[in-house]
Amino acid sequence: MEDVGDKLVQVVIALAIFAAIIALIMLLVDRAPKTFRDKATIIGFLAPAVVLLAIGLIWPAIQTTYLAFTDRNGAPNGVDNFVWMFTQPEALVTLRNTLLWVVLVPLMSTGIGLAYAVFIDRARGEKALKALVFMPMAISMVGAGVIWKFMYTYRGAEREQIGLLNQILVWLGGESKQFLLDAPENTFFLIAVMVWIQTGFAMVILSAAIKGIPTEIVEAARLDGASAWQQFFSITIPSIRGALIVVVTTITIGTLKVFDIVRTMTAGNFETSVVANEMYTQAFRAGEPGRGAALALVLFLMVLPIVLYNARQLKKQREIR
């Protein structure tokens, strides 16, 4: 219990120091000579953010870019790290897996999320149904990892299964399976966890978009005798195109950076590693900061075009609104 008190004291001291710094800035800004006061405000209010970003994000990003071209002792080694990445089998597996993730997760989460959004649009108890599928978004990916590791638990045929999926296999007359160990399909079982998490996000945004479709259009189509499928493809999809793009790009960005799921469930073993996990492993476990930095740089280059596209979409949508 004294531990708790100790930790509380640390938090209180930290907040007090922070409050003191902010109070000092406020005081200096207010007491500055009148002619200088506006300038002092701008400097004083911006300084904490600018200083933190400069030393904590901008400078490190530049350094990482440099590190990507050095070896484990910090000596420049040209493009060796990138050669490693694109030639070594274990690194190539990482790249292949990342590609699988980034294609499958956005596709499946958006597909299922859209279907679900359409279904519940016409269902009773919409709110509750929404909450159930959206809930995984609140759970940490570590928690999700534990939940699904439990689902995938393996027991030999001679024992009772305790993992639901293996039990289903047994019920269907099959044999229990090492879901997380058997490569290459184990990557798909990890991907399923991310789909489970992201579907709720897709569903909530797409559901809002579907509700935004003017009812007159839907009514008119029905009166003209359009079938459910025709309505879906000729009215729903075109009307929510913008939202679809935002959902797909946002999930894609999140998927490229996925780390926790792989770390928790397999730690990247059994050929399941992805770029973000390998970056951590190389930089902080294997003592290869150069390789880690190179992977971080590749991650940045992969995310970059998608973020730019997403930002442009968001801007366009907001202009329309």
Binding site: D30, L53, A61, F119, V133, K149, W196, G242, F259
Partner: protein
């Protein structure tokens, strides 16, 4: 309404952005369109999505022997519940204790300053970007906005060595094995998005309100604390909840900066570690996972509207 990720816009707009907002005619149409097939399909998906969490929860309440003997779907055959798993994982005594209580406290100790600090700093910057006048303002603002594209992986290695080398004489300013590195790292990574979102909101505050205060002789500090911050509460709440959950659920930043001891590491890190080292002790893992999920789930069910708003706004972070 359009489906743009709901970046909190003007105060009024934010209030009106509940996705459930419907006009009566829509309800009539909906009633007519309600179909059994769609409802059935929706329920099937909902069940599939809920079963994994449900199974984990049921298991966390079963005695260890039962968990190992058969699956949780047999619960009706052996109706036995216990809270022992929870008292076990929370306990700090004993050699094999998972000690999650301690880590839970750590998570709280990390998340509170790591939410407050960036919110205050970002609001101050956002206020200047919205209402200050200086050369290069737009360029600087766009630059900070653009920083969102830097994945935090790009910053980890140099930032860690910076923290280690940050000394005044022999005195290490931000020693490892304390919360300080985590607070600062999380604060930094939150800033680009926070400044951008809060700026959008603060710039929508009517100019007359601020002008009137200035005429009355209020300084910038007063205007900021007495007028801007209270008026920006919806945006601050939305981003605050997002940042809170983001920090609470984080694993990567914790792994790099916490050192992993019971003095500092958050509950996610401990849980990930237990999954690796005690992968078969499901009575611990199930209860532990739930302990780590209680806070985010409470936020989710209690503050769902803010949660949705914050989540959508923060879709790009990380």
């Amino acid at each position: 309404m359009s489906a743009t990720p709901a970046i909190p816009a003007a105060p009024e707009a934010a209030v009106a952005q509940a996705p459930e907002a419907q006009v009566p005619i829509a309800r009539r149409v909906k009633k007519r369109l309600t179909s059994r097939g769609a409802t059935a399909a929706a329920i099937i998906i909902a069940v599939i999505w809920t079963v994994p969490t449900f199974g984990l929860f049921i298991s966390s309440l079963r005695p260890e022997d039962n968990i190992q003997a058969n699956g949780w779907w047999n619960i009706l055959g052996d109706l036995e519940f216990t809270t022992k798993n929870y008292t076990d994982v929370l306990a700090s005594a004993g050699g094999s204790a998972s000690n999650l209580g301690q880590y839970f406290i750590n998570s709280l100790a990390i998340v509170i300053p790591a939410t407050i600090i960036p919110l205050v700093i970002a609001s101050m910057a956002a206020y200047v970007f919205a209402w200050g006048r200086f050369r290069g303002k737009d360029t600087l603002f766009i630059f900070i906005f653009a920083l969102q594209i830097v994945p935090l992986q790009m910053a980890l290695i140099p930032l860690l060595s910076l923290f280690i080398n940050l000394k005044i004489g022999e005195f290490q300013l931000l020693p490892s094995g304390t919360y300080a590195q985590l607070w600062i790292a999380h604060s930094i990574f939150a800033l680009p998005l926070a400044i951008f979102l809060l700026h959008n909101f603060i710039s929508e505050i009517p100019g007359e309100v601020i002008e009137a205060a200035r005429v009355d002789g209020a300084g910038h500090a007063t205007i900021f604390w007495r007028i801007v911050l209270p008026l920006s509460m919806p945006a601050i709440a939305a981003f605050g909840i997002f940042q809170f959950l983001w920090v609470w659920n984080d694993l990567l930043v914790a792994l790099v900066f916490s050192g992993g001891t019971a003095d500092v590491a958050p509950i996610t890190q401990r849980l990930a570690e237990l999954t690796g080292t005690r992968g078969d002790e499901w009575h611990r893992l199930t209860a532990g996972a739930f302990v780590s999920m209680i806070v985010p789930l409470a936020v989710f069910f209690g503050l769902q509207r803010y949660f949705v708003r914050g989540l959508m706004a923060g879709g790009l972070k990380g």
